[in-house]
């Protein structure tokens, strides 16, 4: 073999080894907490400084269902996430349209304003929210928790959707108008399908955020609106670390499913405009 190609190959192999080492390290770093949660959720008799539990089983899941109203709690989480999605889109999409498609003068200022809630510590912000909600009697309602969640998800919806709308080609939408479509039909038949990758990304983001949100739920929940993260916290407080892990595993399931959807649907080609078969 030619010595030059040989050495190039050696360098390439070397590079590959380094890249794989990094990827492996990264994966370990990301995945180790998950491993701990899963082991403690399924493990029984895991005491002291043992590396692995004595035996495996689903006892902690049974406990979780017996000790807490887990079905209701899961329902709460889903209902609140769904409400949060609806509220965030209803408020975020028109705002994003104004920012992305209209020539607003104070565009930057508006974006800064929208991001403001994210610039102060969440706890401080949550305290303020709770105060207002007590006044409005929104505590212990699904809508209340969803509204609280929306305050942090709307900025992201606005950011994702305004970038999506900005990238839409105005000529294509104009073409719809010339073809006879009024603004509503243009929005329904052209803007929404063409923005689908962005909308999907926003929905997934809002769902995951709401489903896992802790601080704001903490400040606005009531006995009727306990969510999965709150229940996890309460279980830890009651001293049942393993039950908390079991609940966390349940909490993980939708996130993993959604991750699957993301990987499947959000291909780069879909994001760059040509949206096929969505």
């Amino acid at each position: 073999m030619n010595p030059i190609t040989h050495s190039i190959r050696a360098v390439r192999t070397g590079k590959k080894v380094v890249i794989y080492a990094f990827l492996l390290g990264f994966a370990l770093f990301i995945l180790s907490p998950f491993a701990v949660i899963i082991v403690s959720a399924f493990g029984e008799g895991w005491f002291g400084a043992r590396w692995l539990p004595e035996s495996w089983g689903i006892r902690w899941f049974q406990w979780a269902f017996q000790m807490t109203d887990l079905v209701q709690v899961t329902m709460n989480s889903f209902v609140i996430a769904a409400l949060t999605i609806v509220i965030s889109l209803l408020i975020g999409v028109p705002t994003a349209w104004a920012i992305g498609k209209r020539k607003l003068r104070a565009k930057e200022l508006l974006i800064a304003l929208i991001l403001l809630p994210r610039m102060i510590p969440e706890l401080t912000y949550a305290l303020g929210t709770a105060k207002i909600f007590y006044t409005l009697d929104l505590i212990n309602t699904h809508l209340g928790v969803a509204l609280a969640h929306s305050t942090i998800t709307i900025p992201y919806v606005v950011l994702i959707m305004s970038a999506t709308f900005e990238a839409l080609e105005q000529r294509v939408i104009d073409a719809g108008g010339v073809c006879g479509a009024n603004w509503f039909q243009r929005f329904l038949y052209l803007v929404i399908p063409m923005s689908m990758p962005g909308i999907l990304a926003a929905v997934i983001f809002v769902f995951v955020t709401s489903f896992n949100e802790f601080t704001l739920s903490m400040m606005t929940y009531g006995p009727q609106t306990v969510t999965l993260p709150i229940q996890t916290y309460l279980s830890i407080g009651d001293g049942y670390k393993e039950v908390a892990s079991a609940i966390s595993v349940i909490l993980l399931i939708p996130s993993i499913l959604i991750l699957g959807v993301i990987v499947k649907q959000i291909k780069p080609e879909n994001l760059s405009g040509g949206v096929k078969g969505l």
């Binding site: 294509v172 108008g177 010339v178 073809c179 006879g180 063409m194 969505l278």
Partner: protein, 362 residues
Amino acid sequence: MIDKKVMISLKNITKKFGHATVVNQLNLDIYEGEMLTLLGSSGCGKSTTLNMITGSLTPDNGEIHIRGNDLTHVPSHKREIGLVFQNFALFPHMTVFEIVEFPLKIRKENKKERKVKVMEMLRLVQLDHLAERYPRELSGGQQQRVGLARALIYQPKVVLFDEPLSNLDAKLREELRFEIMNLKDKLKFTSIYVTHDQEEALTLSDRIAVMKNGVIQQLGTPLEIYNEPQTPFVADFVGISNKIVGQCVGKDNGHASIQMDGFQLRGLVKHDEIQNGDKVIIFIRPEDIQFGNECSTKENTLQGEVRNIVFSGERKECMVGVAEGETIRLYMNKQSDIAIGQGLFVHLPSDSCKIFKFFANE
């Protein structure tokens, strides 16, 4: 022209973007069944004019009438106009069939009839075999055929074309040009065709409006525009001309004598007012120039030497040096055995020499 019924009427249209006046008090009548071309260089306001007719833009001043109705403030979707875009502007998430069907769907036509009409239209533009494809799976020429089909499917009485062929290669341009002409004969729509390609304008149109800086410079048939340019801009922009700059030294009924560095020419003055001593510019087309080895007449005949020969396929183009820094382009038969360095008499017939006031090149 057929029967001169006005279809589209632009009355004193003005459009400004910020401080720039892009279309300036434009008046134009387009007759029923006519193909009128807006010809002008990039940025002269052609697309802006079209967009005001479709309703994507609203004029700052003036009115737009179609078949006698004032449509100036009617929204785009109620105007029943067809538009073919320069960059196609197809709906990326729909198949060819769905794109062409879209205007009918919006008009709530019966689904079965829709299908029949769409397939018929697709056959007409030779795309019936690609109905299930998405735009990004098509070539540029095929995409523009979809654009054509989408603009024609609802049988608008007025179809506008905004440089529909400028994104295609030369061969395809010509092919589609003929297709557009055929479709127009078949479907009998009135159209405004925007282009910066003068060949396209000359071959396609019943009339041409040459535009510059948002103002129409000249309106006429292709023959009039080519043979009788009324402004130096039109003379320069349409077709190829020799341009010779000199000074007016004498006038007699419609003609003027122009002095250049080392020679004099007589030419026709028609559209500009010219005084003795004015700086002027003479336009003469290469195909109007006569040449030979002997000198037959004295007037407007110059002695020169062939400096360069370019073979363009259909003819030979010669650059003949006639004086210091002055070369004249003329066309020769492709068989002619002309050689560089050869001496030649060139005759510039005085009625083909069009004299205008000198204008600063913009």
